[in-house]
């Protein structure tokens, strides 16, 4: 998240091991023991309950639960909208990061602080605020609706809520990399006759590509699981604007614990895969910035 802005002035500065001297510090057993205990109680055991519960389903039950038309439609919406939102965030997140790092303008510090609003604003508040803006009688919606553009209570609303949620991820991963970028390289490119656009595409873009991809993956991962901001604006019509987390809640409300578990397992597997991808991307980014 925003750890980069605080904790990473020295990229990849993990202290190399110095053998025995590390053991001088006390507290290893205590802190590691407590970490493992707390991790197990809060995260690992509850998550394993999900996996074990899914084992009580037969394969047929499991498959029926995760592949009914309504659930499939919810995957399409959740993944499709998350993808579109993350792509929009890549473009505008890069733009905002660029403007914040490279240019000066009045109110820059306020804009910089405001970028983190989606992290700090409760999702339910974001959801009702966006709905109030975009619904037919809202500040923005009242002008768009007569033109035939509907942004609330349909998949468009889902995408907009997910753009809001994902924006800081791209800005905050790209920003520190842009700050560290050496202007000399760009100046060299200019001296060698490159246009500004060529410099951007051939020199700047490759150097921020890992960060951009990381931000994209984080925004995408967050968007897939998002619930609070989406349900207010989505309209939640089955087969049309119902997201996967809402399908899980729907099954729970009908006491279909097996079905809810099965769909949750699908989501959990997706989160695991994305987490691995993000870790790999961050490793790539660290090696890049370490080698530069």
């Amino acid at each position: 998240m925003t750890a980069a802005s605080l904790g990473v002035p020295l990229p990849g500065a993990a202290v190399p091991s110095r053998g025995g001297s590390k053991k001088v510090l006390p507290g290893f057993n205590l802190t590691l023991g407590y970490t493992l205990l707390y991790l197990s109680l809060i995260v690992l055991i509850p998550l394993s309950a999900l996996v074990f519960k899914s084992f009580t389903l037969s394969w047929d039950q499991f498959w029926t639960a995760i592949s009914s038309p309504r659930v499939l439609a919810s995957y399409r919406l959740t993944f499709g909208a998350s993808l579109v939102a993350a792509l929009v965030n890549v473009v505008f997140g890069l733009l905002v990061a660029w403007v914040l790092v490279r240019y000066s303008f009045p109110g820059k510090k306020i804009v910089d602080a405001l970028v983190d609003l989606p992290f700090a604003l409760p999702t339910a508040v974001a959801g009702i605020a966006l709905t109030a803006l975009l619904s037919g009688n809202g500040w923005i919606g009242q002008y768009l609706e007569p033109m035939g553009i509907k942004l609330a209570f349909n998949p468009n609303g889902v995408v907009i809520a997910l753009i809001f949620i994902g924006l800081p991820f791209v800005v905050r991963t790209v920003q520190p990399v842009l700050e560290d970028n050496e202007k000399e390289l760009e100046e060299a490119a200019m001296c060698l006759g490159a246009t500004r656009w060529q410099t951007f595409a051939r020199v700047i873009l490759p150097s921020i590509a890992p960060a951009l991809l990381t931000g994209f993956a984080m925004a995408f991962a967050r968007a897939i699981g998002e619930y609070g901001s989406v349900i207010f604006i989505a309209g939640n019509v089955p087969m049309v604007s119902e997201i996967t987390p809402l399908v899980i809640i729907g099954k729970l409300e009908q006491y279909d614990y097996g079905g809810a578990t099965a769909v949750a397992v699908v989501m959990l597997v997706m989160s695991f895969l994305l987490l691995l991808v993000i870790n790999a991307l961050q490793g790539w980014q660290r090696r890049r910035s370490g080698g530069a």
């Binding site: 750890a3 802005s5 500065a13 202290v15 590390k22 053991k23 510090l25 006390p26 507290g27 290893f28 802190t31 590691l32 407590y34 970490t35 707390y38 991790l39 809060i42 995260v43 509850p46 998550l47 309950a49 999900l50 505008f92 733009l95 660029w98 490279r102 303008f105 602080a113 970028v115 983190d116 609003l117 700090a120 604003l121 409760p122 999702t123 339910a124 009702i128 605020a129 109030a132 803006l133 500040w139 753009i163 809001f164 202007k183 760009e186 100046e187 200019m190 500004r196 991962a221 699981g225 619930y227 609070g228 207010f232 987390p245 809640i249 729970l252 578990t261 989501m267 959990l268 989160s271």
Partner: protein, 296 residues
């Protein structure tokens, strides 16, 4: 000086392009961040300050506020202790499986809040693993306050640890080792050496953790049961009011949460500026890059 600035000018865009980019970026921020925030307060005050205050004086609103504060007051300190312990173990020592452990600490971030709520229902709900035992002993976790606290702890689990781990790794062990060699015990070393070094990261993690703890919706919504006046946190109360078409009341409670978000952002910015200043002072490099001076 003039020579230098001329050179800088060549490595940037034409003024019109710069203005265009700034304009588009600001328009995007205005549309997606400022307008929703303004809408919250505008909708809350739509029928005047009287209706706004009346909505906040509702007993149900008060009980929601109380429950939210209680939840955060339990979840944040627990995750703070965990965050410090995990960061100490991971940053100060080498052991096998360290990278894997770090990934596991991050795990709750990538789990959907709804799934986070569901796992506690599967454990403690009426049909869950411990459900029958809990029912026999008349202990309620799901659809009660303990479930809300548990779900909140899960969702905010990594916040403080992941702020502290990179920070403590970057700082290394030398200062702590010096303290130990000079005769300090482990607790003194932590209190007098480590804690002052990590204080900004710590505050930063705590306020972000707190904002999420007070604002969590999805996970809490699954385990709460939505009992008015009993298991309603502020975000859940917003939802109930909104669905009952009590728009002003919903936005009034929401405006409190929006204020919390603004306060969080202000504290966060202050912490960042302080930290930056300390870093600069520590680096002892007064002539920073001239570009930065121009920028401010």
């Amino acid at each position: 000086m003039s020579d230098l600035s001329k050179k800088r000018v060549t490595a940037t865009e034409a003024p019109w392009a710069r203005r265009l980019l700034i304009g588009v970026a600001l328009a995007f921020i205005l549309l997606f961040l400022v307008l929703p925030l303004a809408a919250v307060f505008a909708e809350a005050l739509r029928q005047g300050a009287g209706a706004y205050l009346a909505a906040l004086r509702e007993p149900d609103a008060w009980s929601a506020i109380r429950l939210t504060l209680i939840t955060a007051a339990i979840a944040v300190p627990l995750n703070l202790v965990f965050g410090i312990a995990a960061a100490w173990a991971i940053a100060k020592y080498d052991f096998r499986g360290k990278a894997f452990l770090t990934t596991l600490v991050d795990l709750p971030f990538s789990v959907s809040p709804v799934v986070a709520g569901l796992i506690y229902v599967l454990l403690f709900g009426a049909a869950g693993w411990f459900g029958p035992w809990l029912a026999a002993h008349d202990i309620k976790i799901i659809f009660a306050v303990p479930g809300i606290v548990l779900a909140t702890i899960f969702v905010t689990f990594p916040f403080i640890a992941r702020e502290l781990i990179p920070l403590m790794q970057a700082q290394g062990n030398e200062e702590e080792q010096a303290a130990i060699v000079l005769g300090a015990n482990g607790w003194q070393t932590f209190w007098h050496v480590t804690l002052p070094n990590i204080k900004w990261g710590l505050i930063y993690g705590v306020i972000l953790c707190n904002a999420r703890a007070m604002g969590e919706f999805g996970a809490v919504s699954v385990v709460s049961g939505h009992i008015r006046g009993q298991t309603n946190t502020m975000p859940l109360h917003v939802e109930i009011l909104y669905n009952e078409y009590q728009s002003v009341a919903a936005f009034a409670v929401a405006s409190l949460l929006a204020l919390l978000a603004l306060v969080t952002l202000v504290i966060k910015s202050i912490v960042e500026w302080r930290h930056e200043r300390e870093m600069k002072a520590a680096a002892e490099m007064p002539p920073e890059r001239p570009v930065l001076k121009e920028a401010t």
